[in-house]
């Protein structure tokens, strides 16, 4: 989604026709260029976060500011090297990162790579569940809304969509919890599995961190059921948010492509309305939708922080909020770098997918 790849605005219809751009620029090169763009993105974010974090204090003050006399605190900070010039620390940090050493977290002595792996799986799992809900709800309803355009089902679906994304995830979470966990008591309110099952899952050799997979590997249907039960409320809370956006997007794009001349052209050949929606409007509409799904990743990760907090889903977003508060900049930088890589890679993949669907995109 970098601007460099946004095709120039189409010429006004009345302008004389332009020859198609001279051929050239293979898909391979396009992919390469898109891929290389990941690096500056990640670099910029990590740098920004480094600067931000370092101007906001250090983990020692965060942990012990309420216990130690000022001079002892200063001494500890000095020993840890946090009072050296920022640029020195930054270069040092970059040096470590370049050699693949993300270090250990400052506040709890964990390998950052471990943290990323352990919590990354959880966030990934939550995001996938949410996407699933979003697809299952957003796309069919969006197509229906487009089909019933400006009639009452359209209004109902659209207001539903707006409500979905007008409701903050944490409020949705609270309400879901209130209803399903407190009042009805039918679903677990928090966590990714019951404590016993957590232990069982934790004992697995080489756990993936994605409990669904781990539970299947354990082969115990009770544990699998428990894991799935725990996923229901978080997936709905986060999924509906995205579903609302998908719904709106699908509707807009299907209506938009429906107005394209080639749809009229197909209609003029006697192609049925159903087929027009399924074949002619849908696939081109998919291209902008896919692109936006790329952007949704950032949203999902942001929403994940809140969902994870609300539902005790120990994932990256949740940990990030904790580490932020503790000023553990090594951990924060590691997580931010990973998130940035994820977002950049997903957007990269999305662009590639869009390029594959749309034969015109070749750079």
């Amino acid at each position: 989604m970098t601007a460099a790849t946004v095709p120039a605005a189409p010429a006004a219809p009345s302008a004389p026709r332009r020859r198609p751009r001279p051929a050239g620029g293979s898909l391979g090169r396009y992919i390469l260029v898109r891929f290389l763009l990941i690096f500056p993105t990640v670099f910029i974010l990590v740098t920004l976060v480094f600067l931000f974090m370092r101007t906001t204090g250090d983990p020692i003050t965060a942990a012990l500011g309420g216990r130690l006399p000022a001079d002892q605190l200063a001494e500890r900070i000095h020993e840890a090297g946090y009072d050296r010039p920022l640029i020195v620390q930054y270069v040092e940090y970059l040096g470590h990162v370049f050699t693949g050493d993300f270090g250990r977290t400052l506040t709890d002595n964990q390998l950052v790579t471990d943290v990323l792996f352990r919590y990354g799986g959880a966030t990934l799992e939550l995001a996938l569940y949410a996407l699933l809900v979003a697809f299952a709800v957003g796309i069919p309803l969006g197509m229906l809304a487009a089909y019933f355009r400006d009639r009452w089902p359209d209004a109902v679906f659209r207001v539903f969509a707006i409500l979905c994304y007008a409701t903050p995830v944490f409020f949705a979470g609270l309400v879901l919890k209130l209803v399903f966990a407190v009042w009805l008591g039918v679903l677990p309110s928090s966590g990714r599995a019951g404590p016993r099952n957590e232990i069982a899952l934790g004992r697995l050799e080489n756990p993936t961190g994605v409990y669904l997979i781990d539970a299947i590997r354990l082969g115990d249907p009770a544990i699998l059921g428990d894991v799935l039960q725990h996923a229901v409320l978080p997936a709905i809370a986060l999924g509906l948010l995205t579903a609302g956006i998908f719904l709106r997007l699908v509707r807009t794009n299907v209506i938009g492509t429906f107005a394209m001349p080639y749809v009229d052209a197909a209609r003029s050949r006697g192609v049925s309305e159903y087929r027009l929606v399924r074949r002619h409007a849908w696939k081109p509409a998919l291209i902008p939708i896919i692109t936006v799904i790329g952007l949704q990743v950032a949203l999902l990760l942001g929403g994940a922080v809140l969902t994870e907090t609300t539902f005790e889903w120990k994932g990256l977003g949740f940990e990030l909020a904790q580490y932020l508060q503790a000023r553990d900049f090594v951990a924060v930088q590691g997580i931010v770098a990973l998130l940035a890589v994820i977002v950049a890679v997903v957007n990269f993949l999305v662009d590639i997918a869009a390029a594959l669907i749309d034969p015109r995109v070749r750079y």
Binding site: A3, P40, V42, T56, A166, L301, A321, A344
Partner: protein, 340 residues
């Protein structure tokens, strides 16, 4: 042209006239909801039964904490012993204040950067685009949190606290305005009227501000409403995560929700449902406006029905907007992201 016609060219009013049927219904509903909140915000001192940080009635008897809705406290009281109704009403004031500051700041910064970047191009443009894209691609909530930590450095009195929240949101919005305005500027700069100003010999600044800027801002009202709702959600999320405004500085719905987490598990619903509903409603209102404006700006999405009102605009508005399709589609992007 007459006053009426001029009035008709104002954003929103023009669109209300332009719209029909369902679209008008949605737009008007959005305007009404938002209007109600605006009235609550403006007249909060008159409408709210108590102050947002008031713990005792005039009789000196404290309200008590977590009291269920009653005559004295129609929405009950919070865990901190505040009147929920009052805090919901005062909260709209905070919300509007934060929206206003956040949007004004981000518009100024974003529009200026976008305009310069889009019009002048070159390496500055490339650098800004990469930075903006990097920031844009990052979860805005996290960005806002980091910004909030950086900014809330100092003390958090009313203005400071609100500004800290607003600026954190600004950091998130600047790349959005930047992108939109830059895209518009890039489009407009290729338009014949900009070239004709150039061949006349107008200076770069003149072209940029007299010709490009004003023609690049037509999507702003629409992004503005959509961003306003985002600002509220971001503010609430910050408050919910404990990075927002303090209860004694101002009433803030996200903070109240945060404080009501343990109420929910004890079956105390009134402390969360009311502020939560306030967030949902105001965002609903703003989004209804934003989406309706978006649909109206996009000729593909606009409904036209047989109707005999809507006169007095001699189809002018039509051409006016038909130039935008690129812009209207573009405007989808910021609208669709970052509702956290």
């Amino acid at each position: 042209m007459g006053v009426r016609a001029r009035l008709g060219r104002l954003p929103v009013i023009r669109q209300v006239r332009q719209s029909v049927g369902l679209q008008r219904g949605m737009l008007v509903a959005g305007l009404v909801i938002t209007g109600v909140f605006a009235i609550l915000a403006i007249f909060a001192p008159l409408l709210a039964p108590y102050g947002f940080n008031q713990l005792k009635g005039d009789d000196g008897v404290s309200f008590g904490a977590q009291d269920p809705p009653s005559l004295a406290h129609p929405f009950g009281t919070t865990v901190g012993g505040y009147d929920v109704l009052s805090r919901v009403i005062w909260g709209s004031q905070t919300a509007f204040f934060v929206i206003a500051v956040a949007i004004v700041l981000s518009i100024f910064a974003g529009v200026l950067l976008g305009l310069v970047s889009g019009y002048l191009g070159g390496w500055l443009d490339r650098v800004l685009v990469v930075i903006a894209d990097a920031v844009y691609a990052f979860p805005t909530l996290l960005l806002a949190i980091v910004a909030a930590i950086v900014i809330s450095h100092g003390q958090s009195n009313l203005v400071g606290g609100v500004f800290a929240a607003a600026i954190s949101i600004t950091v998130v919005f600047i790349p959005q305005y930047f992108r939109v305005i830059r895209a518009e500027a890039v489009r407009v700069k290729a338009e014949a009227f900009v070239e004709s100003a150039k061949v006349i010999g107008a200076s770069t600044w003149r072209v940029m501000f007299r010709h490009v800027l004003r023609n690049s801002t037509r999507t702003l009202p629409l992004i503005l409403t959509l961003n306003a709702s985002e600002a509220i959600l971001t503010l609430a999320a910050l408050g919910f995560l404990g990075f927002g405004i303090e209860p004694t500085s101002a009433a803030e719905w996200g903070y109240d929700l945060n404080r009501s987490i343990s109420d929910v598990t004890s079956g105390i619903w009134w402390t969360s449902i009311f502020p939560g509903a306030a967030i949902v409603l105001i965002v609903l209102g703003l989004t209804l406006i934003g989406e309706s404006l978006n649909d109206l700006a996009d000729p593909r999405l606009r409904t036209r029905r047989r109707s005999s009102d809507a006169a007095g605009d001699d189809g002018a508005a039509d051409d006016d907007i038909e130039v935008v399709p690129g812009g209207a589609i573009d405007a989808d992007a910021p609208a669709d992201r970052e509702r956290a």
